[in-house]
């Protein structure tokens, strides 16, 4: 647990504001840790005199020798309707890097129906081994079946690290697997590192206001989900050799859910707060018809559509798309502002995006102050050109 050494504490109160849980109070002019403490350790580095310490009892048991039985890096290769998700290929690149440092093998786990042919792709992207569970019963994703197969395989093969995309699927069934195996899981990582054999899982917390380094020192495997487009896809190596291992799919996996249908819908599932790429439009687009141009760009980039308040007020798009003070706050990897002048109320909602591209006719528009890339020009002219170039580059 976290303790205050009262004899060292100077009563400076710096630690009080460092605690995200409001768990530090002043008692008789010295800091005191209350029951609110979540042991998050945020205060440890805040104390200028080192009066805050973590006591023995809270340390985890010493490393178990059985942990040494686990080796190898795995990537869950996600596919939907037979198509591999890009994040799986991105993770093969990062997985390769980790496996090389650990001098171990990189394996991919492919679950689905009629997907064995994709194993070659996974090998080309860096997998040494591909475990394939191919069965008609696996054509739809189900937490029960996918979880059962992956957990069973892990118990048998004992990998030390497992990476999965932080996608709808990954964020649904990977926690089930982790709970079944009683091991740790770190969601939504944006960076990974190694300290010896310990995986450093780096992820945003508190709404992206801080970054945390999370470890799972005493259980195996160490499991992390990683946001799409965090890592670059590696360059595939054609003809690269690897082993394909067929996984027995038991006939008696009990499925307690049933997928009746999938409804494709790119517009109503807006969840701009979670999108990695946002294309936002404002008054500068002129009318509702021009606003549709954004859809092409969004489709080309796989992004969601956002809007300034002016565009929402004008009725060009519905309120859930509004970004800014009275709408959503977002911080995607890429934010493209089209015809948005950048009223303060809009800027507060998007300025923490990683990369901001601003397209506006007015060179003095405030949006340019926060933009990484500025293009002074008419959005109506720029967007089609941009779509064209993106398509060219993508091939």
């Amino acid at each position: 647990m976290i303790r205050i050494k009262r004899e060292i504490c100077t009563g400076c109160e710096i630690c009080i504001s460092s605690c995200p849980y409001g768990a530090i109070e002043m008692v008789e002019d010295r800091a005191f840790i209350t029951e609110m403490c979540n042991l998050c350790r945020a205060c440890l580095s805040a104390c200028p005199v080192g009066a805050i310490i973590e006591t023995e009892e809270s340390r985890l048991p010493t490393t178990d020798s059985r942990l040494m039985d686990f080796s190898g890096v795995w990537v869950f290769a996600e596919q939907r309707r037979g198509k591999l998700h890009d994040v799986s290929l991105e993770l093969l690149g990062e997985g390769r890097r980790l496996a090389n440092i650990l001098s171990t093998e990189l394996s991919a786990v492919l679950i689905g129906s009629n997907i064995e042919k994709e194993a070659k792709t996974l090998i080309a992207y860096g997998a040494d081994k591909v475990f394939v569970a191919d069965d008609p019963s696996l054509s739809d994703f189900h937490d029960d079946s996918y979880g059962h197969i992956l957990a069973g395989l892990i118990e048998k093969e004992k990998p030390e690290i497992i990476l999965s995309g932080a996608t709808s699927i990954g964020r649904s069934f990977i926690p089930k697997v982790a709970a079944r195996l009683r091991t740790g899981l770190t969601a939504d990582c944006t960076r990974l590192g190694l300290d010896g054999k310990i995986l450093h899982q780096i992820r945003p917390a508190f709404g992206g206001n801080i970054m945390a380094v999370v470890i799972c020192p005493n259980r195996r495997p160490q499991i992390a989900t990683v946001r799409p487009r965090v890592f670059k896809k590696p360059i595939p190596e054609k003809g690269r050799k690897g082993k394909v291992i067929k996984v027995h799919v038991p006939e008696d996996i009990s499925l307690r859910t049933k997928t009746l249908e999938f409804v494709k819908d790119l517009t109503s599932t807006v969840n701009i707060s979670e999108a990695d790429v946002i294309i936002a439009g404002g008054r500068g687009l002129g009318d509702a018809k021009n606003f549709r141009l954004l859809e092409e760009l969004a489709e080309a980039l796989g992004g969601a559509i956002g809007a300034s308040r002016a565009a929402v007020d004008a009725g060009w798009i519905s309120y859930p798309h509004q970004i800014g003070q009275t709408g959503m706050t977002v911080s995607p990897r890429l934010y493209i502002a089209c015809g948005i002048s950048g009223a303060v109320q809009h800027l507060v909602g998007m300025q923490s995006s990683d990369i901001i591209v601003a397209i506006n006719k007015d060179p003095d528009a405030p949006i340019f102050k926060v933009a990484t890339y500025s293009i002074v020009g008419d959005a109506l002219e720029v967007i089609p050109l941009l779509v064209k170039k993106i398509k060219e580059v993508r091939g």
């Binding site: 008054r283 308040r309 002016a310 007020d313 009725g315 309120y319 009275t326 709408g327 009223a343 303060v344």
Partner: protein, 385 residues
């Protein structure tokens, strides 16, 4: 400023503020633009138990008074006057029942109003009878166990949306103001229909509509008080409800002042935020002085009413005049501080300025209020001799 509100009153204010921020602010521009009735917000206000604030507990209300209602109205008005007008109009319609209704009438109509299950509307104004309320033409003729209503009411807030209407009609034209009577009329009564929906300058989220009565039979059980009491019912109702208009004014002024301060801190000209200029600071200071003065007058008058006093006609007229004039001035100055942006619909102060104007007009123009104050002064002076 601390107005020594009770815990319950602070809770009322907090809940109303929460609804204002979470439900009203995000939708107000769209409601205004589309002139759309705020059904969702009314539902939220019902779920929050706010419709029954001033209605006794035995009729399903909260058991509070004018001050409790004023607190809720103020918070809603700081976000959107159209929404607060829709809300407050229910009280305007319910007060005649509360003040003059029989036990039976209270039991059958107040619980649904208190729960927000049914909206209510008050119908006095006609095309030819505005400030001169005695000129109303709608008639109610007694035939057996019914009164037959004929005539058209104009500019009725919640018209068409409400289920319960309190209507003033002439039972005996020859007696002038002493020939008016008040009735409760339910939506769906044969011969009761709705005319055109008005296009307004402001408060566009509120529904303002004609009520048309064509041989509309109203059971005699729905007569409020006695025949000939219609004007007393209307005047006593308006005496109380004027404090609500005051609360609307305070809320709107408060909302406009907040927007102006926020904007003045963000807006840079000549390399500085404009709030650093004393010209702006002085404007904001005057706006704040007026808003707080109006609030103090609203709260103290509401407390006088809640204390059981019968003498508040003059004071409630003062509240109405002062707070509505303050709202108009503060909203206009807020637009001035926003400059060109203030004139644009993208920012909320433009709407606030349009909305504010109605406060000086409805429920007795500010000129009529001054008449009331003047007459009260004459009466007071005369009684001293």
């Amino acid at each position: 400023m601390d107005y020594f509100l009770t815990d319950a009153q602070k809770t009322i204010r907090d809940i109303a503020r929460k609804i204002a921020i979470e439900k009203v602010v995000p939708s107000r521009a769209e409601l205004d633009e589309k002139e759309e009735f705020p059904h969702e917000i009314m539902k939220a206000l019902a779920q929050a138990d706010l419709f029954g604030l001033y209605i006794p507990e035995k009729y399903g209300g909260f058991g509070g008074g004018s001050i409790d209602l004023a607190l809720a109205v103020e918070e809603l008005s700081s976000a959107c006057l159209g929404v607060s007008t829709t809300f407050a109009a229910n009280a305007l319609a319910a007060y005649p029942v509360l003040l003059f209704g029989s036990e039976e009438q209270k039991k059958s109509f107040l619980p649904d109003i208190a729960s927000g299950k049914k909206l209510a509307a008050f119908g006095l104004t006609e095309a030819g009878a505005g400030s001169d309320a005695a000129a109303i033409q709608t008639t109610a003729k007694k035939e057996g166990d019914e009164y037959i209503l004929n005539g058209t009411k104009q500019w009725i807030t919640n018209g068409g949306e409400a289920e319960i209407y309190t209507i003033i009609a002439m039972t005996d034209k020859s007696k002038g103001t002493r020939g008016a009577s008040a009735f409760i009329v339910e939506k769906g009564t044969p011969g009761f229909s709705f005319g055109k929906k008005e296009k307004k300058m402001g408060i566009r989220a509120s529904a303002t509509r004609e009520l048309v009565f064509e041989n509309c039979p109203v059971p005699k059980e729905n007569l409020l008080s006695k025949e000939g009491m219609g004007f007393i019912v209307a005047m006593r109702t308006l005496d109380i409800s004027r404090v609500g208009i005051g609360a609307q004014g305070v809320g709107l002024a408060h909302g406009a002042l907040d927007e102006a301060v926020k904007y003045a801190r963000e807006r840079h000209q000549f390399g500085k935020p404009i709030i650093s200029f004393q010209a702006i600071q002085h404007m904001l200071a005057d706006m704040a002085i007026l808003t707080e003065s109006a609030r103090a007058l609203v709260y103290s008058t509401a407390r006088v009413i809640d204390s059981g006093s019968k003498e508040y006609s003059k004071e409630s007229a003062m509240v109405k005049v002062f707070a509505s004039d303050v709202a108009m001035k503060v909203a206009t100055d807020a637009v001035q501080i926003f400059g060109g942006y203030g004139y644009m619909r993208e920012y909320p102060v433009e709407k606030m300025m349009r909305d504010a104007k109605i406060l000086q007009i409805y429920e007795g123009t500010n000129q009529i209020q001054r008449n009331i104050i003047g007459q009260a002064l004459i009466k007071e002076a005369a009684s001293k001799k």
